[in-house]
């Protein structure tokens, strides 16, 4: 299985086996990371699954949509690597993807 690397807010890094076809948010949530609230359940409606994607591993990640971009606009913690993890469908091409859970607003 391809690997997804998750960095929590305290800087701890953990490798998990990513399930292909699920979103990055679902992969993180299902592995018990309770820092990621994902309140809307993955419908690109709440911005509580905000992560930073490590640029070195971001090559295969699809671009940000207009709707996602607009939700991210409301976050003070946004930077150029910000994504909503519910909008990234994990694939084998993303093996080694490294994401950091963003601070809460």
């Amino acid at each position: 299985m391809p690997i997804l690397i998750v960095v929590t807010r305290d800087g701890a890094e953990r490798e998990i086996e990513g399930r292909v076809g699920l979103s990055v948010m679902e992969n993180i949530r299902d592995q018990g990371f309770d820092e990621l609230q994902a309140l809307c359940g993955g419908s690109c409606s709440c911005a509580t699954c905000h992560v930073y994607v490590d640029p070195a591993s971001a090559g295969s990640v699809p671009p940000t949509s207009e709707d996602e971009n607009d939700l991210l606009c409301g976050s003070d913690a946004r930077n150029e690597t910000s994504r909503l993890s519910c909008q990234i469908r994990f694939s084998t091409a993303m093996d080694g993807l490294r994401v950091t859970i963003a601070p809460e607003d």
């Binding site: 609230q37 809307c40 709440c46």
Partner: protein, 388 residues
């Protein structure tokens, strides 16, 4: 169970402080049928989480308030289920975009400064009528592109919202007022056909003309939700934050010393004293939840405000603490129907609080002369005397 049966939803003590009753319900009957109304009350965190996620059993298709209006059911985001909900949500959410709300914030600052200048000599007023409503309704009017006369009309039409004429679990607005709101917004929609602005109605009309699957009735119904949510949710949310801070002077001081804590204070306030206490769902198939079977064709009331105080999940939940480690709560709902205006509310409140708190200093609230809204869906004040 028998002890629970004697509690009365109309009891003034319940309206003043519903939280002890919620606790009893959570402990003794987390899924309880009110014998008078027949409604099923779901009060534990686990039950609320499950009911809001399981829309196949807990449908919104008959409306999301206790008794909904035919002008809205099946047309608003809150009264349809996925997949149509998700399709419509994408269209409407674009109209509520954060970038547009950010652009409105300077106007809110000016309006707030004017408002406080008018009150500068008096230094006392009704926080609801003199500060909260003018600021929030002004912002809402700009969002919807209403001129002064139309904004005044909108305010008037929503005045009766969450009346208690039909009891604390009755209709939220008189049927004829629902119709009047629909007529008023239809007029606004027709006005926009000729001349567009950057308001929500214009944006939805543009989306429709660009091919988005959206009817005029859906535009009117969903804008009516924004109008009512502006009044009922954020309209009570701001006074509730002010009340929570007044009740906890140490927290207020901490916030004044460090305004960077304002977002955390807003998040804690919407958990601790949730302005929209509950929403309704239609149980479309027999379902077991928290150990109780609810029969098909029942009406269930999902109490977010009770789940937000559930000690099974949230440590020391009755304590208002702006330094609390963030908890996953339902102050803005959860799941597919997560509040579409959550970011709008947060952005506006953050701006208002940042400007307002320095003006008001160690303000006093006269809660003995305040009046609470008595409808079960809402936690808030009809009036709230303040001095500073």
């Amino acid at each position: 169970m028998t002890k629970i049966m004697d509690f009365n939803l109309s009891d003034p003590a319940f309206v003043a402080d519903p939280y002890p009753t919620y606790r009893r319900l959570r402990d003794e009957a987390p899924v309880w049928q009110d014998p008078d109304s027949g409604l099923w009350l779901v009060t534990r965190y686990s039950g609320v989480e499950r009911a809001t996620a399981d829309y196949a059993s807990f449908s919104s298709a008959k409306g999301n308030v206790v008794q909904d209006s035919p002008t809205r059911v099946g047309k608003t985001l809150g009264s349809i289920d996925p997949p149509r909900h998700d399709e419509l949500r994408r269209i409407i959410q674009r109209g509520l975009g954060n970038a547009r709300i950010e652009a409105m914030l300077p106007g809110i600052r000016v309006e707030l400064a004017d408002c406080m200048a008018r009150l500068a000599d008096k230094r006392e007023c009704d926080f609801i009528a003199d500060i909260s409503q003018p600021i929030l309704f002004g912002a809402l009017g700009r969002m919807l592109g209403l001129d002064a006369a139309a904004a005044a009309r909108a305010t008037e039409l929503t005045k009766g919202l969450f009346h208690q004429d039909d009891g604390p679990m009755g209709s939220i607005l008189q049927p004829e007022t629902f119709m009047e709101i629909a007529r008023f917004l239809r007029e606004q929609l027709d006005n926009r056909r000729g001349e567009r602005g950057d308001d929500l109605i214009s944006i939805l009309l543009n989306a429709k003309e660009d091919g988005a699957p959206l009817s005029d009735e859906e535009i009117v119904a969903n804008v009516s939700t924004v109008l009512m949510a502006g009044n009922a949710s954020i309209g009570h949310f701001l006074p509730n934050v002010m009340h929570a801070l007044w009740r906890h002077p140490d927290q207020r001081r901490m916030l004044r010393d460090d305004p960077a804590r304002i977002p955390a204070a807003i998040d804690e306030a919407v958990r601790w004293d949730t302005s929209t206490q509950c929403f309704a769902r239609q149980v479309v198939q027999e379902t077991e939840i928290d150990g109780t079977r609810i029969p098909a064709d029942s009406r269930a009331i999902i109490f977010y405000a009770s789940a937000n105080r559930d000690e099974r999940v949230i440590p020391d939940p009755d304590r208002f603490d702006i330094t609390r480690a963030r908890v996953r709560h339902f102050g803005f709902g959860i799941g597919p129907h997560f509040c579409a205006g959550a970011d709008t509310a947060r952005l506006m409140l953050k701006e208002i609080m940042r400007e307002l708190l320095p003006y008001l200093g160690d303000y006093e609230l006269d809660v003995r002369n305040a009046k609470r809204v008595g409808h079960i869906m809402v936690r808030g004040f009809a009036n709230l005397p303040i001095s500073w």
